[in-house]
Each structure stands twice: as C-alpha cells, then as structure tokens.
C-alpha cells in the first residue's frame, strides 16, 4: 500500500481463506538473538524517547521562531554566533531544532495509536473469544472488512472526515489498525479456554470476569505485545505519510512528514530539507523494526524452540 509499509508480522490476509503462507523471518544473523545485540538499537530508541520528552536538553531556541533573513542556510552555517548544524528551512527556522521537536509528535502519535488500537482490539478479541456464537461472528466479520480496505486510504478517509489534528490522527490509526490485535487476541482466547487451569477455575465456580482477568488475559498478552512492537514502526511511517499529504498535525507544529513535504518544494536548492528528516525517520523505524523482531523471538510462544 500504500506507499506505506504493511504487515511486518507477515500476517497477510491470505491466511484467512485457508492459504498457508510460510512464516516470514529474517536470516538468523540479522535477528537480534541476545540482549547484547539488541542493546544498541534499544539505546537509539531511548535517545529518541528522551528527545521527545525533553527536547530542550538537546536544542535551545524555541522551535517555532522564524527569521526570514536566515532562510535556507546550508548546514554548518554560523550566523549571529549560532551554529545551524543542519541548516535552516524556508522560514529561517533551525532544522536541527525542528527535527528534535518533531520527534515528540512522531513518537507520541505512534505510541498512542499502538496503545489505543491494542487495547481496543484486544478487548474486542477477548469478548469475541469468550462469547463466541453470533457476537464473535459479527466482531470478526467487521475486522475482516476493515482489513479489506487498503489501510492508507481508510486512514485518509477518516482524517478527512474528522479533520486533521493530533487526536484525530490517533483515532484514525486506531480505527484502521485494531483488527490486527483482535485476530490475535481472539485466537489466543479460544486456545486459553481449552487449557486445564481455565477449566479448573470454571469448575470451582470462579466468575467469568475473574477468569478472563486472572487466567485468560495473561495468556493473551504476550502475543498482543508482539503485534504491538511490530506495529510501532508502521505507525511511525503512517503518521509521517499522513502529515506528508497534509493530513497530520497542522503547522507550525513540527512533524517530520510535513517537513519533508515542505522540503520537496526546495529540493533543487536545499537538499538538507529533504535529507535529514528522512534520516531521522529511517533510523527510528529501522531500530523499532529490529527491536520488534527481537521481542517477537523472545515472547511469541509459537516461536520458541523453532529454528534456533
């Protein structure tokens, strides 16, 4: 899709109709097997998170100030005793500054979207798994339908309908992505209900909600977390793509996608405007994807003992 990346988990819709797809894996040496290999990427992600939480530790000037006499200065220019390490943009704003402040939007939206879609999707999946019958049929059919609309177009339609803003982007990504979690949660709930300890709990008369909370949810969560970590990178790209077409957070709030979109107009004169926000985006997504694989190898029960 979308010029947006789909399906890092390899859960293509082909699986629905009885088509057996092989599990998509990276070669062993590219997967992070032990914590030592995962550490550098965890540190990179940690740096991004710190940048998002405390951008003022990294850059000084307020991100929104513009100075038209300092337009499009190349990287490394020293002006009025201030070094613009990554240059300035079309309104004379320091690029490094906006890049650091843009981290906040990117991560805030990605994490919120994963959290909301994960909670909502898991809730529906567990409900479907416990209730079964008609309720399950309705929930799972709706999930199928949502998955059959190309994600990015559905996202565009929702943001157009709601109007672009930070909250609405999160709502939109939640509406588009919840079925991923619902499918996993549904399958895991069904599986958990067949297990000895759930049956024992039922036999001694434990209440339904208690069993779900105490026995089923802990069985469901590891798989949901695996999906969530793999989704995080996709959400970062989605947010950037939405703001690239003007449907993300609105200016002057800095967002990488919007910065790239602005930079496109000055591509023949100011290469730094299209290069650096992309580098920031790429490194973040790469780290998140590799860490996602690591988490999957660690947590996914179906992975354990396979092809070690």
């Amino acid at each position: 899709m979308t010029t947006v990346h789909e399906d890092p988990a390899g859960t293509r819709s082909g699986a629905r109709s009885g088509v057996r797809m092989p599990r998509v894996r990276r070669p062993g040496w590219l997967r992070l097997r032990d914590t030592r290999a995962a550490l550098p990427f965890a540190i990179i992600l940690a740096i991004y998170i710190v940048m998002a939480l405390a951008p003022s530790w990294f850059v000084h000037a307020p991100a929104l100030s513009s100075d038209l006499s300092a337009r499009l200065l190349p990287p490394g220019t020293v002006r009025d005793g201030v070094t613009h390490w990554l240059g300035t943009d079309q309104l004379g704003r320091d690029l490094l500054n906006r890049l650091v402040y843009g981290t906040r939007i990117s991560l805030a939206i990605a994490f919120s979207a994963v959290l909301c879609a994960g909670a909502f999707g898991t809730f529906l999946g567990v409900i479907a798994g416990v209730a079964r019958g008609g309720v399950a049929a309705i929930i799972m059919r709706v999930a199928d339908v949502v998955l059959s609309i190309p994600f990015f177009l559905l996202a565009i339609l929702t943001v157009v309908a709601l109007g672009p803003s930070l909250i609405n982007v999160v709502i939109c990504l939640t509406l588009v992505r919840w079925p991923r979690y619902t499918r996993v949660a549904y399958a895991q709930t069904l599986e958990a209900q067949g297990k000895e300890f759930v049956r024992s709990a039922q036999a001694i008369g434990a209440s339904g909600p208690w069993i779900v909370w105490r026995h089923i949810l802990p069985e469901v969560l590891p798989s949901v977390i695996v999906v969530a970590t793999l989704e995080l990178g996709t959400m970062v790209i989605y947010e950037a793509s939405l703001s690239f077409v003007g449907l993300g957070v609105q200016p002057p709030t800095p967002s990488w996608g919007a910065m790239l979109s602005d930079g496109r107009e000055y591509i023949s004169t100011a290469w730094w405007l299209t290069t650096f926000p992309g580098v920031a985006l790429f490194i973040l997504v790469l780290s998140v994807n590799l860490l996602g694989d690591y988490v999957r190898d660690r947590l996914d029960p179906t992975e354990q003992g396979r092809s070690r």
């Binding site: 979308t2 010029t3 990346h5 092989p22 059919r141 949502v146 059959s148 609309i149 950037a240």
Partner: protein
C-alpha cells in the same frame, strides 16, 4: 448436478459470499465515515449564504431525508455504478477516476514487474546461498527496503537522479523515462515483501525430501531449483503478488504526489485539498472493490494450483 455438490463448487460459492459480504461492509463503513464529515451542504454554499439557501441545497442533495433513507438511496446508487458526484468539477466521480486510472495502472504494473524481477532472485539467492556472502548481503537490502519510508526514497531519487545527475525527469508523465523513478519508488515496498516471502518459501522447500531425492538421482542444483523447488515455492508467491497488485493501486497516493504523476493517487490528494469528499469516497470504494476482487481471484487461482486448499477449506 454432480458439480453442484462437489467441494470445489461449495468452496467457490462460500468464498464468493464472503467477498460480497466484505463489499457490503466496505460500502457501509464508507457511508458511516462520510456522515461523520458533518453537513456537505455547508461546504457547497458560499460563505454569505442564508439558512434558506442551505436548506435548498440540502433538499437537492437529499440530505433532509432520514438517515436510513439516505443509506438505501446510496446503496441503490452504487448498484447502478453511481459513485457520487464531484462538488468541484460537477462531473460524476467515477468518470474522474476512469480518466486517471490508466496512469495508475501503468505505474502499478511497472512497480510490480520491478519488485518481482528483483525480489524473487534476491529471495532465492538469500535462501539458497544463505551461508555465503551473496546470500548474506541480500537481506539487509530487504530490511532497508522495509524500514525506508517510500516517500523519502522518492525524494532521495529526485535529489540524486533529477537534481544532481540530471539524468531522469522527476515530474509528470511524458514517456517511459518519466515512469522510471516513480515505479522504483512504488516498487521499494512490495520488493521487500516479495523477497521475504520468496526466501521463507524456498527455505521451507529446500530441506524437503524430494529435493534430496532429486539430488541423489544426479540432478544438478540448478535443475532442482528451477524444475522442482520454484514450482512448489511459487504458490505463496503467486498469492502475494495478487494481493500486491491491489495494494500498489492504493499505495500510489504518495508516490504520485511526489512525482506529479496524474493518476488516482494524485486525484485523491487534489480532492482532499479541494474538500471534494464524494471523489475521495469514490476512490476509497473503487480501490476497496479492486482489492476484494483481486483477493477473490487470487484465492480462486490458488485453489486451481493447489487442490489441498479447496479440500481443507470445504471440510473446515
């Protein structure tokens, strides 16, 4: 009559029903989302319009009817291929889409060819030679392809080939040359998916008994790979390619924007900018229909290639 009771027939009917249900669901979701946009009449009238003007427009558009009547009217329209009317251009949305469609198809087909021609060999090499340098070098490429936002890749290509080297045109649709950069950009993500699925598919097959048998009978590795393994491994790959075609149509939105390619994607963004909601809605519907149809056709093809599918599906 025998055909009627056969598993194959039941499978096809069941799958068709599923596809129609999906179609109905998509139409409904699009309707619901569209109603969230509020009152389209407000957007149509000029700023200084009176309440009476708005009421008149509402009546013209049928917006004063109860919601269920609007929904039925909308459904009936879709059954007659009436996908709505552009507010801005004053033309049926479908004819706008049809006008742009050939460009998007060109782009999607070119991207698909690139990702298959590059993706399958890369996946094969990384599976077969996984202990050797070439095999090891192949997968990082895929990982990069997967983590690289396509719109950034597009911008970098413009920067390198358009601005610095001045080799290729970077916007518009004039001739084959201007197709190259957008097609490479659009191909970057399906390339990664194709390569990964090829790799896993080959890894599953290379260890199989029949490979050992063929090898022990003296067949060369090349012959085993292309004569036996490729055929067995191709089933998931074919499925994936079927799904990719539809994704590429939807995915052209950003690529077309970057390269000013006059296809459906550009129409989408232009319609968003112009607040021309019926067109946006029609595009989403259109692409969803293509997506569901491609899914259906792929499944049908698949059950022809691999009889196990329809048998297990009919039994389950």
């Amino acid at each position: 009559m025998k055909l009627f009771y056969s598993g194959t027939f039941r499978y096809i009917i069941g799958r068709l029903g599923q596809a129609l249900l999906q179609l109905f669901g998509v139409v409904t979701i699009v309707f619901v989302v569209l109603r969230l946009t509020g009152d389209p009449a407000q957007l149509l009238v000029p700023q200084q319009a009176t309440a009476a003007d708005i009421a008149r427009v509402r009546h013209q558009l049928g917006l004063d009817q109860p919601i269920w009547a609007q929904y039925l009217h909308y459904l009936a329209g879709i059954c007659h291929f009436d996908f709505g009317y552009s507010y801005v251009q004053n033309r049926p949305a479908l004819s706008l889409i049809m006008e742009r469609l050939p460009y998007t198809i060109d782009l999607a087909v070119a991207a698909l060819i690139i990702s298959v021609v590059v993706g399958i060999p890369v996946g094969m090499i990384s599976a077969v030679q996984r202990k050797k340098f070439l095999g090891r070098a192949a997968m990082p490429l895929v990982l990069i392809g997967q983590s690289m936002p396509a719109f950034w890749l597009g911008l970098l290509l413009i920067l390198v080939f358009g601005v610095w080297l001045r080799l290729l045109p970077t916007s518009g649709a004039e001739g084959l040359q201007s197709l190259i950069l957008p097609a490479v950009t659009l191909a970057s993500l399906s390339f990664a998916t194709v390569a990964r699925i090829t790799r896993s598919s080959f890894l599953e097959q290379v260890g199989a008994e029949y490979v050992k048998t063929a090898r022990s009978h003296g067949a060369g590795m090349g012959r085993v790979l292309f004569g036996h393994v490729l055929r067995n491994a191709s089933i998931p790959i074919v499925t994936l390619i079927g799904l990719e075609i539809a994704s590429l149509l939807g995915g052209a939105v950003i690529t077309e924007t970057i390269f000013a390619w006059p296809g459906i994607g550009q129409l989408t963004v232009q319609s968003i900018d112009a607040r021309d909601f019926p067109v946006v809605q029609a595009i989403v519907l259109f692409v969803a229909v293509v997506y569901i149809a491609a899914n259906f056709v792929t499944d049908m093809l698949y059950s022809v290639i691999d009889p196990r599918v329809r048998i297990t599906a009919a039994e389950g």
